[in-house]
Amino acid sequence: MTNQPFGGQLEKLSDFCWRIPKSYKPGMRVDGLIYTSEEMLQQVIGDQAPEQVANVAFLPGIQMASLAMPDIHWGYGFSIGGVCATDPDEGGVISPGGVGYDINCGVRLLRTNLFYRDVKPVLTQLIDELFNKIPAGVGKEGPYTFNPTELKQLMGSGSPWLIEKGLATQADIDHTEAFGCLEGAEPERVSERALERGKKQCGTLGSGNHFLEVQVVDAIFDAEAAAVMGLEKDMVCVMIHSGSRGLGYQVCDDALKLLRGVPEKYGIELPDRQLACAPVNSPEGEHYLGAMRAAANYAWCNRQLLMWQARECFARFFGKPWEQMQMSLIYDVAHNIAKLEKHRVDGTEKKVWVHRKGATRAFPPGHSDVPPMYQKIGQPVLIPGDMGRASWVLVGQPGSMERSFGTTCHGAGRAMSRRAAVRHAKGRRIDEELKQKGIIARARSWKGLAEEQPEAYKDVNLVVDVVQQAGISKKVARMRPIGVVKG
């Protein structure tokens, strides 16, 4: 397994969409469709990610096409940026690899009533305070410990459970995808091992690409939508990227172990073991779904508790309650998840399991699952870029329902491998370089910062251009990082 360029068939359909025909490999049930641009195409075919798009097309019950968003890059099993919908009534499967180890990894954005001019003079001290207080990195535990009974309640109810603990408000829940709780979670299907890994990690950031960033609204592209979200030019916001921590990783791992030999049992032929799956309507499939939903609910609680700690930090630092600084949640999106949703396929409405592996739901204005305050503008979509350039706030558009099962991109996508990034950073101080650009970055490890340096990522602006051009989401605001906290 090496990082060879993709040498297979790829046909241009439009300026933003390329096809891998299902004739490319025997066993593909549908085409592969990759949303990208001429400018990014060379990066897309630079590794095995397109091959993974073709492999996903093998999954039984897959509808329309195996899709990839423009931030596509080589993953394990599914590509990162992969989207696949399966119909249980046509033998459709659920694949833990299509959700990933970090179940319900996602992003949330909260606003403040502070502006860049208020924060600039004290920025270094503010970031140091956040870095000291927000648990991040290898071996770090959080201030919250939940015993097995509490963990099960938390996983059964999701972030609304935190209201009674005084760690969430109803407004937080109203601004969270799925209101912070997937129905049908079965915490009793979550193993002891997962509970053990999860008991002290709810409210911790983790490492890798997870972060907490203090950002500033750099440019507004849709004044109406920005106003509805309460965003103004130069306003200070906080973006948080994390998932279900060790508990979620263990749920995925347990499921993959349980699925050893299962595809063979159901006569499913797969080109990669990491695509292991089971029919949705099977004991194995139901088991995973119950546990996956529980882990997803844990992840919403994790991001809620990270946000709560950030609010407390701001309150201590500025000496006033967070409510007074109007630190309200704009939205929280999941980008590693599988959900049962209604979509039109070939003119027929169907309930399908949409796997989003590094892809974000992007429902358009008027969709019944968009919360009331965003009905007119569409569901907010949060796209973290890299720590030096930009992140984006978008809204879902009608094209997403036609083209991508209500889905858009989730980030910039990596352009360099972690090792290449470390070589590229040799002899450099990434934190000093960022400081020159007015960004204060703090990380537990030099290597972590080197691997996550801006150059390691594709240009998020190009990624967002493609999803806008494809009509699957629309630009609202570009965010500029001013402070970065990493594991």
Partner: protein, 136 residues
């Protein structure tokens, strides 16, 4: 002997050894080299024994690394020395290491999981070779 190899989002581990015991031992060293920048700083101060069951070598390697990862994440113990005895139904491992101390041990990555993607264990003319990718 082990090396970490390129993977866009994650990290690859490649291990070669003349014996199967050596393969399991070197793969474990590779895992802790992914976790720490300075794996040479891990001292052999405490001993933990593991017993793994299985007959399929690739799954056995997977389960072994997973076990170490789980132990590290829940008990915060890093290992540097491994004495492994392979039998027909699995293997026994005596591992030596110490508790994580972030002052001394420079954390590099939180390894989320061992993946099945590209998981390969082969017998070669020189002995054994394995490849796998860990999720970062």
């Amino acid at each position: 002997m082990y090396e970490l190899f390129e993977h866009t989002a994650d990290l690859g581990i490649r291990v070669k050894s003349s014996t199967l015991n050596g393969l399991f031992s070197d793969a474990a060293c590779a895992l802790f080299a992914a976790v720490l920048d300075n794996p040479e700083s891990i001292e052999a101060e405490q001993t933990v024994e593991f017993e793994l069951e299985g007959t399929q070598t690739d799954y056995l390697l997977f389960d072994w690394l997973n076990e170490l990862l789980y132990y590290f994440e829940t008990k915060h113990v890093l290992f540097s020395e491994f004495s492994i005895e392979v039998s027909a139904g699995g293997f026994k491992a005596v591992c030596r290491g110490e508790s994580l101390n972030l002052e001394k041990h420079h954390a590099a990555h939180e390894v989320k999981a061992i993946t099945y993607h590209g998981l390969k264990v082969e017998q070669t003319e020189q002995g054994w070779q394995a490849e796998l990718i860990v999720d970062i």
